[in-house]
Assembly symmetry: C2
């Protein structure tokens, strides 16, 4: 037999095969999350996995733009691109059609695999707006792809799980996103997590108060975003290295120290800071409203906390931003915020937008760490028969009877070593056994 | 505002956005199919969407190999490939490292999007066999991609829905596949469909009996596969054009005419043909067993029919093959068969294998043609409040009360034209309305 031994049967680097047990957990979590979001009035949509490469590369995606899996053009289109190289070389690069290798490189692909669900959602909304209700509340659960370093154990295909609200200017949007997401986490068995909240406009007021240059705020935020990892000294060092004013850095440090030492409720801390940095009172009031309504709903199951140094990586946020932390894990299990300018960039007309994303792989990872087993939807029974007796019609009738009684039936012919065969059943989630003895109606079912 | 007006907001050619209503139908169908297959003892697995390009291109995929979306190599690997073009050109193609553009073309990608779920499944089984039960019965529901001509209205991303059984030599496998799939179709509301059955080995006996050359059987089958579309004359013409013996073609024609005119049950027809063409009696006996057990289970809801000209496109089938036809549609809604040699090609050790695939997009298309609406999981209620009154905390408490009563709640602030706002609710699947009047507990819910 000709064997393609040179092709490994392993999945591609950074990608995963899911065996039945893991799919069961993932599907269970997906069903819980979906049902919860539906209770909050969200509805599920789907977009294609491939998008226009120009759309994906347009910006706003931060470092993800470097991680796009690009799809090669096909047929004549590809021939034309490759042909242009030849032209270039033959003409010493001076032909009218000639292209540098760098240009050719950029010309090889026309589509890419989506790296998140937000860029496709904004395209979807721009395209389908006239067929969607306003406000529009979407659920998206789907795969995204990033060419991450697989050596560091990062996944190159993983599931994202987003809800978004388009068309709501008020903090009703933030409140619903936070309530729905925290409710979903509680239903998945998570308790004691903390919702951290800040606002991009608060961050701007803070940077302004400290005396950073207005046009360099973004780099201040990027440094501040690392506070968790590199500490206050690290942030100060990074800002100094970028040539920010020493006085501004010192102001930021002292402000952060003051905030870290502050006592009182989140609302009080927010009020103190807002007053100090002269933040827009409408901004701080909305943030207070969000926190108080969500806190009211928490009922001791989780916390809500104002976090003045919270930044969130993406550049597209324009208002409140939020993140959920789970004790014992140093990464966030959910994150999101308001991005009112993104639809306008696509369609020419701004539409208020706000989203929250559960870190699905992180949630699944924690559930697996905790040894969690989702409840079985159906009882699984093995129906074992002696193949030599040629009783297939009767065996199938017996299986149908068991199914009619609500069981999932695994029909197996008796193996030589039946003891071993039975010992292997529990690993398949099978807890009961029925040995077929020829009678279709009277079936004796025993626990293993 | 800077608008990227040059980037269309439409999905890429041949790909689709799914709005909430269509997702609801697709998810409903998926849930029905999955639950049915689970009752038959199958369990769900998942593989990555990207596979090694060498694996995908290895063969067995027929014309699908021409339709693979290939993923561009990244970073240094890509630079090296593009660099080799320069080498080639500078050295007049004689450098040791030089490559023709055709070679470069083949070297540009390292992965591809899967074009079906069978090739990845065989890789999955080869890789994970030691962690899987034997026999192993899998469910796969997932997207596949093919660079089909979008002009002809073909989808370039679509869902496949497969069940497969590994490790069962006997016709128990075929029977379970056919029973599970027909049961799923019945539960989706399909009745009166016909399961057509044949066997690749019967086809070989038939070609041998007619006098075709043994080594050219495959081309006979490819022509015969078109019988539905081009008729008996067309098949004869195609075979003649390929230089097959006139006498063999005449024999085939007369045999097919005889079969088409034959009366009696499928089992009788099978017996007559098997006798005439001297088919292996074990083969025809197994086929008869399959038909009779599945027929017994049909209970008037569908038909089972021996179809001596059924071929199925893929070259990898080795035994029984089957297809399901639904009245009024000229394409099959499900297809599959036995492929005992495919695992061996990957792992070096043959494992009996058999699969059946529901044409998910076709099923959904028919359900939409028929105007089918899946039952709603939850009642959707609109909770409308007057935003000016700043009652967000109470409104959210009211919404929580409605959710606790099992409803899906869509909270909306009152628009200026409330009549229009209410008129738009039914299109969102909302049948009931609750106008918030300040009382969190006493909520009046009215039908629209």
């Amino acid at each position: 037999m000709a064997v393609d031994s040179q092709i490994s049967s392993a999945p591609q680097s950074g990608m995963r095969d899911f065996l039945p047990r893991e799919v069961r957990l993932r599907d269970w979590a997906t069903a819980i999350i979906t049902a919860t979001y539906e209770q909050f009035g969200f509805t599920k949509i789907e977009t294609p996995c491939l998008e226009n490469i120009a759309l994906l590369k347009r910006g706003d995606g931060g470092e993800n733009l470097q991680l796009i899996f690009e799809v090669l053009k096909r047929g004549e289109k590809l021939d034309r691109v490759l042909g242009s190289i030849k032209d270039s070389e033959n003409n010493g690069g001076e032909s009218r059609h000639s292209k540098s290798l760098k240009e050719v490189r950029q010309d090889l692909s026309d589509m890419g695999l989506r790296f998140d669900l937000t860029v496709p959602l904004v395209r979807f909304y721009s395209h389908n707006q006239q067929n969607l209700p306003s406000p529009f509340k979407s659920i998206q659960i789907g795969s995204v792809w990033r060419a991450e370093s697989a050596q560091q154990g990062r996944f190159r295909q993983f599931t994202q799980c987003d809800i978004d609200i388009f068309g709501v200017k008020s903090e009703l949007a933030e409140i619903e996103l936070l309530q729905a997401t925290s409710e979903a986490l509680v239903k998945l068995g998570f308790e004691g997590f903390t919702i951290c909240i800040n606002d991009r406009r608060m961050l701007s007021s803070l940077a302004r108060y400290c005396g950073f240059e207005e046009e360099r705020f973004e780099s201040v935020f990027i440094a501040l975003d690392k506070l968790d990892k590199i500490g206050l000294d690290g942030v100060g060092h990074e800002l100094a290295g970028q040539g920010h004013k020493e006085e501004a850095i010192a102001n930021l440090r002292s402000l952060l120290v003051t905030m870290a030492e502050a006592t009182g409720t989140s609302e009080q801390q927010l009020e103190t800071l807002a007053g100090k940095i002269a933040a827009d009172s409408a901004v701080s009031q909305a943030l207070k409203n969000i926190m108080s309504v969500v806190m009211k709903n928490a009922d001791g199951r989780f916390n809500v906390q104002f976090e003045p140094s919270l930044v969130r990586g993406m550049g597209y946020y324009t208002g409140p931003i939020f993140e959920i932390k789970y004790p014992g894990y140093n990464y966030s299990v959910a994150g999101g915020g308001r991005y009112d300018k993104m639809v306008g960039k696509m369609s020419g007309r701004d539409v208020p937008a706000c989203g929250f994303s559960i870190g699905f792989e992180r949630i699944i990872g924690i559930l697996m760490d905790e040894g969690f087993e989702p409840p079985a939807a159906m009882e699984r029974v093995a129906l074992i028969f002696d193949e030599n007796r040629d009783q297939l019609p009767d065996v199938m009738a017996a299986a149908a009877n068991l199914r009619a009684r609500g069981m999932a039936v695994v029909v197996q012919s008796k193996k030589k070593d039946m003891r071993k065969q039975i010992d292997q059943l529990p690993a398949q989630g099978i807890a009961k056994l029925c040995l077929f003895k020829g009678d279709v109606e009277n079936l004796e079912i025993k626990p293993l």
